[in-house]
């Protein structure tokens, strides 16, 4: 059965800390790994990783995919209280010609001032 497992499920840090969120996957017809940030509203898209070993960066956030070991990490440096959210990892797979996502349960990050 396809699955995406995230760890830790929750994390509490202080402003300025660096955090690493983990995501492992077993997804048939896997194409890409996506990261989303979910605050109280819609999940907002962060990264899509398709190639192994190529880091993607956006400000203080970065992510990388290892397709051999079937995992990805999301790094956040110099955390701020605004980074508090649930971070969702999802595997994009293709059944037929259409893509679809299977999500992990998410990591709840709380950044204390």
């Amino acid at each position: 059965e396809d699955k995406v497992v995230q760890s830790p499920l929750s994390l509490v840090v202080h402003e300025g800390d660096t955090v690493t969120l983990n995501c492992s996957y077993e997804v048939t017809n896997f194409r890409s790994l996506l990261w989303y940030k979910q605050e109280k509203k819609a999940p907002t898209f962060l990264f899509m990783l398709t190639s192994s070993g190529i880091e993607k960066k956006s400000g203080r956030l970065s992510s990388i995919l290892d397709k051999k070991e079937l995992f990805s990490i999301l790094n956040i440096t110099a955390t701020q209280t605004g980074d508090s959210a649930i971070y969702l990892c999802a595997g994009l797979y293709f059944g037929g010609s259409q893509g679809n996502l299977i999500f992990g349960k998410g990591t709840k990050l709380s950044v204390k001032p």
Binding site: V4, R31, S32, L34, Y36, K41, A42, P43, T44, F45, M48, T50, L88, A90, F94, G95, G96, Q98, G99, N100, L101, I102, F103, G104, K105, G106
Partner: protein, 114 residues
């Protein structure tokens, strides 16, 4: 560009009642998804449309859930009759449908069944 629009934002109903949610995807997005997100879990796919055709509804509880996307744009998701375990956030997402295009989510409808 305008995002995915959903309504209502919140809905509280009693069990055995019916409810409907509406979604307007991003303009030009051919693929539309409905996800159910139970508290503490990641979103789970209910149904996927490509234009006005169903691509995947394998996880839709068809005895009580139905969805349609007439004209290939807006979509409605209906639950009839609702059960307590249907309490969740219902997220609509859309994508261009092309290889490698990410999904963009709406703000969701939070349903509470009492």
């Amino acid at each position: 560009e305008a995002g995915v629009a959903q309504s209502p934002r919140y809905k509280i109903i009693e069990k055995r009642q019916s409810v409907a949610f509406w979604c307007n995807p991003i303009s030009g997005h051919a693929t539309l998804y409905w996800y159910q997100q139970i508290l503490g879990q990641g979103p789970k796919l209910l149904i996927q449309f490509q234009n006005n055709g169903v691509v995947d509804d394998s996880q839709l509880p068809k005895d009580r859930f139905s969805a349609e996307r007439l004209k290939g744009v807006d979509s409605t998701l209906k639950i009839q009759p609702a059960k307590l375990e249907d309490s969740a956030v219902y997220l609509c997402a859309s994508s261009l449908g092309q290889t490698g295009s990410p999904l963009h989510f709406g703000n969701g409808t939070r349903l509470t069944v009492t």
